[in-house]
Subunit: 187 residues, 4 copies
């Protein structure tokens, strides 16, 4: 069996490669879009969905008005709102259906995917490509990982989302202590 | 095996008995409390928790600002807020802990329970007793059900909560059609 | 405002009407199908989904091998399995998509719906009709409720599912006390 | 504002530092414990809880019998079972309560925490320390992060858990393709 430190080194290298392919120029516009939207909705399925929930939690800590698609008290999306999707393949049927609907309802859309040919790209105001392989799609630039299924995409998605949180903290002059005051105190 | 209609008749009779023990005089004050709170949080564990999530969904449809304890974007509770708990035994440790905390943070509290001796009663501004048996507590008034565990409490809790929704609709002049416009359009 | 007891009486009458339309002859076969399936999957969206989760919890208490579509550890469905759907309209896109897929994967299907014209009916081995109105479909037999959206369907679904639980308890010689031993002891 | 690549470099360095403090010698025993347990339960709250759900999903893909504490069909824990906890502070009241209960019920316990003084350590058969700061506990070795609250712990927890998955794949001779066959085909 490969050693812990051998595997760790490989995983960290893989994540670095994926996150080095991000188009930095889009980030300022994405930050502005997040800050200027009336309400933010996040969407994802499976492990990507779990990462997006964690992202939504941090956006709430920042004082933004945010909802997770599929949770109990999430209202109807509409004009002035923003939908942020994390989906490796960008082809999961329920994700594609929901992106189309959100577009019809007039919401802005940001997608984060590894698939340049995903149907959600054409509906998105901004797309961030995290070029990791997924079980459904082999990407051109980066088509091998020692990790199973979408693990590399999901790890990269978490770190990318948390990096966006740092940029938002900077813009909003928020600190960890201030954010912690918004954190759920019943759990 | 007892027939479908035999069982149906027994279940409906049990629910009617439980819901006939409700103190009607408290309801006006509860409706006012719900409408005058800054934000509403709902709390429950297990099947009671599922019913409370469904109640929260309807409160959102009514245009109220509502959160489910434990969901991703639920913020910290505090003064001016209202916590509504549904708990048959009123003794589940995490429920009791959370009720105490909410009280310390200055939130108002409404509890719905079958247990007159529950520790959450003393922290509650209003308590509604639905006197069904639960697996942890045998209540005085009504200590037998043909149904397992807390089923009778949970059924009664759903119908009671939906009845409160009807009263809120009346006060807010809301219709089913208006509420449906707030319903999640991504799912 | 209508009184508590006035509303209660109307709700109970509505539920009784819906549950009186059930075709009792199918129930024996449904019970057998549940007991003879390798694994059981439950599916629902919104408040119907919450009711189906509560049903799954009771099936687990009965010692059956059961999963909720969308929860973290739910595996792939296939031959020998059974999918049980609760959907008022029977037309929610993700529900229809999943039913078709489950059928293709070789799973048996039981649906509970208020819509006789739902596309899920043709894929189902057995369908139970609970003829309550839903916001998307006005049913023939019973097209009015004082309650908003799908509330009457959801209440009827809960009681119907709990009635099936009673029939399963009888067949399996299970008691509430035995079931409680299977109940989650961490929560 | 610090640039994307500036922040990325800092985050990756922080994660590497945390994961370099892991005691590699324990990992073989942890892998064996996971493989030799009758059933595995995972537990976590907030963002750590989301990571643990993602870990549970991969354990299911590997063909193991795994449950998430708090999901609908999770049964009672007992002798022969294993509880794996991810908790930065190791002091969240519901986590501590559940760990004590699991210990009383005879389950084995593995905890992953950043807090060497956490009360869950004494109940654990094995503890992995990921020495990141958390909002509730400042750890000795590594008490600063540019990231808010427990983000660094949560990122490290995800990568650590995914590394354990690689070790389990090796032991079980599982491939990504085989695992994908177990992946939920309804979603």
């Amino acid at each position: 069996m490969t050693t812990y430190y051998g595997l760790l080194s490989k995983i960290m290298t893989e994540i670095s490669q994926v996150l080095s392919s991000v188009d930095e120029d889009k980030l300022g516009k994405i930050i502005d879009k997040i800050l200027n939207s009336k309400r933010i909705f996040v969407l994802g399925v499976g492990r990507s969905g779990l990462v997006m929930k964690g992202f939504a939690m941090r956006l709430m800590h920042l004082g933004l008005n945010v909802f997770v698609v599929g949770e109990s008290t999430t209202p109807a999306i509409g004009k002035g709102d923003l939908l942020i999707i994390g989906s490796g393949s960008g082809r999961t049927p329920s994700v594609v259906t929901n992106v189309k609907k959100a577009w019809e309802y007039g919401s802005a859309i940001i997608s984060i995917t590894s698939n340049k040919h995903s149907p959600i790209v054409e509906y998105s105001d901004f797309t961030i490509f995290l070029l990791a392989p997924t079980p459904k799609v082999k990407t051109g630039n980066f088509n091998f990982s020692i990790q199973p299924m979408g693990s590399l995409f999901e790890q990269s998605l978490l770190i990318f989302a948390d990096l966006i949180v740092l940029m938002l903290m900077d813009k909003l002059c928020m600190t960890s202590d201030k954010m912690f005051k918004n954190h759920a105190n019943l759990e």
